[in-house]
Amino acid sequence: MSKDEHNPTRRKILLGAGCMAGALGAPTLLAVRHAQATPATMAAAIRQVVGEATVKPGKIKLDLPPLVENGNTVQFTVSVESPMTPTDHVKAIHVFNEKNPQPNVISVHLGPRAGRADFTSRMRLADSEKVVAIAELNDGSFWADTVEVVVTIAACVEDGIP
């Protein structure tokens, strides 16, 4: 516990509001904080995508470093085992997180012309958290992979340009 936490300046509060409130564990800050994704909001966001379908583990692989130094740019790769034929292919891949201000990260839509159900991008992570990737196949099934990452420098702790 740093001294700052017990005497929060206005700036501290605003920062905490942005994305650190949960991490600092200071309940007094919660009153002014922004909506922050929680495991429950992530589950709700996933439910919105998959509907009533059950999400099974397997087929999909989320590749993310287990220890992240800088949460501002975290490279990740999602790959799905699929022949990518017109009768058996991946329609979409969605990525979710637990503790950023919003649960969604990216949604990509692809089809048999992709040849390979695989993509790479970079995301922000506000805290050490769970990241979930979900693949939607053309037969209506959903497959998920979850990775726990430890973030040493979180995204959005620094101020923007005035």
Partner: protein, 106 residues
């Protein structure tokens, strides 16, 4: 505004799976950060990316504020015919950017 960086192989064999890489310069302001004076910085992100191959959509991505600044994407497609692969990015505040690449398929 610097032009997006696109990496598409110039030549490919018919039926070969090729990698496409794109990088565009954009701050991707999340809408959750505050300036030094305490005002909330409004959201300014790219929301959608679309890739077409000779006019047919082959890949589409929806971005959220959790996508890092200067969005980077690598994805794949089957080289079906010679022609043009086109890219568009659309976002907040009327952001719109396009790029194209040509491919020769033998």
């Amino acid at each position: 505004m610097t032009a997006p960086l696109i990496n598409v192989p110039a030549h490919a064999k018919r039926g070969e799976v090729i990698a496409i890489k794109t990088l565009i310069s954009h701050q991707m302001e999340t809408g959750f950060r505050y300036s030094a004076t305490g005002t909330l910085l409004p959201r300014n992100i790219i929301t959608e990316f679309v890739c077409t191959y000779n006019g047919d959509e082959i890949f589409r991505a929806r971005f959220y504020p959790a996508v890092a600044a200067n969005p980077f994407l690598t994805f794949y497609t089957v080289a079906t015919a010679s022609g043009t692969i086109a890219f568009t990015w659309t976002g907040d505040n009327g952001f719109f950017e396009t790029a194209t690449a040509n491919i020769v398929v033998e």
